[in-house]
Symmetry: C2
Subunit: 302 residues, 2 copies
């Protein structure tokens, strides 16, 4: 294989990269055609439009992670149960025969279970494997902020278990659809002091359902400037997440995600004395490159 | 005064009752013209349309509680700070001169403050005063479920303090606008077992941001029937509220609200060994009747 077309195909957007045999990124592409925008049966055409030129390079193969492997995606790649590392996931990679002459495969997500309630991730497992490659770590707490944040515990190079927090989606709901939306400016830049005030407030024991209302009353009584309210609410939510997540970081926490989110987690974790290291899209490419080694090995038939 | 036109004028709807001198309800009216539907300067016309016939009865007077007294309402009646009882609130009732010949007055809401963050209620204070009249209690924990739930501590006949929980609004946001909306049937009737499963789950220490996601995965893995998911989510939210509210009920908790909500709080509280007593709209009418005694007494000028 001389070229790997690495794709993280999510719900509302996708990212692709063309990698050489060593995993070096030659080119990157982003697109808004997340799986929810693709019509029934439309994946081969969208794929060809976006990545056809890369796939026609000699020896090119493609590996896709993310929601494209879900029931609502292109081809369902059943979840791999935790604990799971590169080997367990690599063996469950699924080939797609939908595009003539193109060698495309899809990575399964991970599942975990807590007292009878399942938990799932799709795409984040690849970022975690990539982060392990890039940092050399095989133990630790890996946090992936996003719409549905993941807190994963890594032991001996495998994801031992994880939990999802809907923090990003709660922020979007509250800032766009709730009574708070009337006074809050969701486009205001991060105000660190207001953010940390929210983090501190989240620790008062009265919970998010109560503390969120304070974002309304602080505006009503003009106790906080309008442009600081979104940072305060973000601090309340991320503080609540930190307060209720159960993983203990012995060393630093590895944060993987976009800088506007990892910046907030860095601030909030630092305030509690926890050091962080941050990775971005490079973790996805390193993870897909690492898993591409399984494309030619024995795999469980789909 | 031979007739009292008692009105609870809220954000999205209103309720009115015609009371005789003893406080007996002669007639009730509900309408969807909450304050957000009333155009600028439109309150006198809407009021006359809805209650003009009652106001033309001999000696009729009107007392209004709720969001009609807010900045966005008819006339702003400034908040009365806790601790506050009937006397403190009664003295701050504001007369409205907007309708010629009609004697209309408006009840202020209550404010409280916790570590620099204000809290507010408008309308619930009247329900609490009414509940005290109807039950004969002057001490206890009074809970008013709704979009923004109130937990009030009553001591010596006055509201000593209170906290707001956005539980009702969170339920609406999650069941209508979040990823959970895709699998959940918000119109399904209450399933007690699923509701109590949610209440129990909320006590696992992992918080609402994590537990809410379980509503998604239980559906995804077909572990819970679709028609039970909304009850489960409701249980998660109400359980979270009970877990984080700080008031200790020495005896029974007084619940005031619509039966579909008070039923859920009764179930959840009973599961933790707390007895409840429930009141509905009659608390509003009793409260406005009790406050009408202040209409002819000395009051702070508006």
């Amino acid at each position: 294989m001389t070229r790997l077309v690495a794709i993280d195909w999510g719900t509302s957007s996708l990212r692709g990269a063309l990698l050489d045999a060593s995993g070096k990124v030659l080119e990157e592409r982003n697109d808004a055609r997340g799986i929810l925008t693709v019509p029934e049966g439309g994946f081969p055409a969208v794929f060809d439009k976006l990545f056809g030129d890369w796939m026609r390079l000699e020896g090119a193969r493609c590996l896709i992670s993310g929601m494209a492997g879900s029931k609502q995606g292109w081809v369902e790649a059943p979840y791999c149960a935790c604990p799971a590392g590169r080997v367990e996931v690599g063996r469950k990679i699924i080939d797609i025969d939908a595009v003539a002459g193109a060698r495309i495969a899809i990575v399964p997500g991970l599942s975990d279970e807590h007292a009878g309630v399942p938990d799932v991730m799709r795409g984040e497992e690849v970022q975690i494997f990539g982060a392990m490659e890039l940092t050399g770590l095989s133990e630790g707490v890996f946090v992936l902020p996003g719409t549905h944040n993941k807190w994963a515990s890594v032991k001996k190079g495998r994801v031992a278990g994880f939990r999802t927090y809907m923090t990003g989606e709660f922020y979007a709901l509250l800032s766009q659809h709730s009574i708070l939306a009337r006074t809050l400016d969701a486009s205001a830049p991060l105000d660190e002091a207001a953010f940390l005030e929210g983090v501190t407030r989240s620790e008062n024991g009265h919970g998010l359902l109560h503390n969120a209302f304070g974002t309304r009353t602080l505006a009503l009584f003009e106790r906080m400037p309008k442009e600081e309210l979104s940072s305060y609410l973000s601090g309340l939510l991320i503080g609540e997440e930190l307060r209720t997540q159960a993983l203990q970081a012995s060393g630093e926490v590895i944060l993987i995600g976009s800088s506007n989110l990892t910046e907030r987690y860095t601030l909030a974790l630092r305030a509690t004395g926890v050091a962080t290291r941050t990775l971005g899209a490079e973790a996805t490419w390193a993870g897909l490159h690492a898993l591409s080694g399984f494309l030619d090995s024995d795999r469980t038939p789909a």
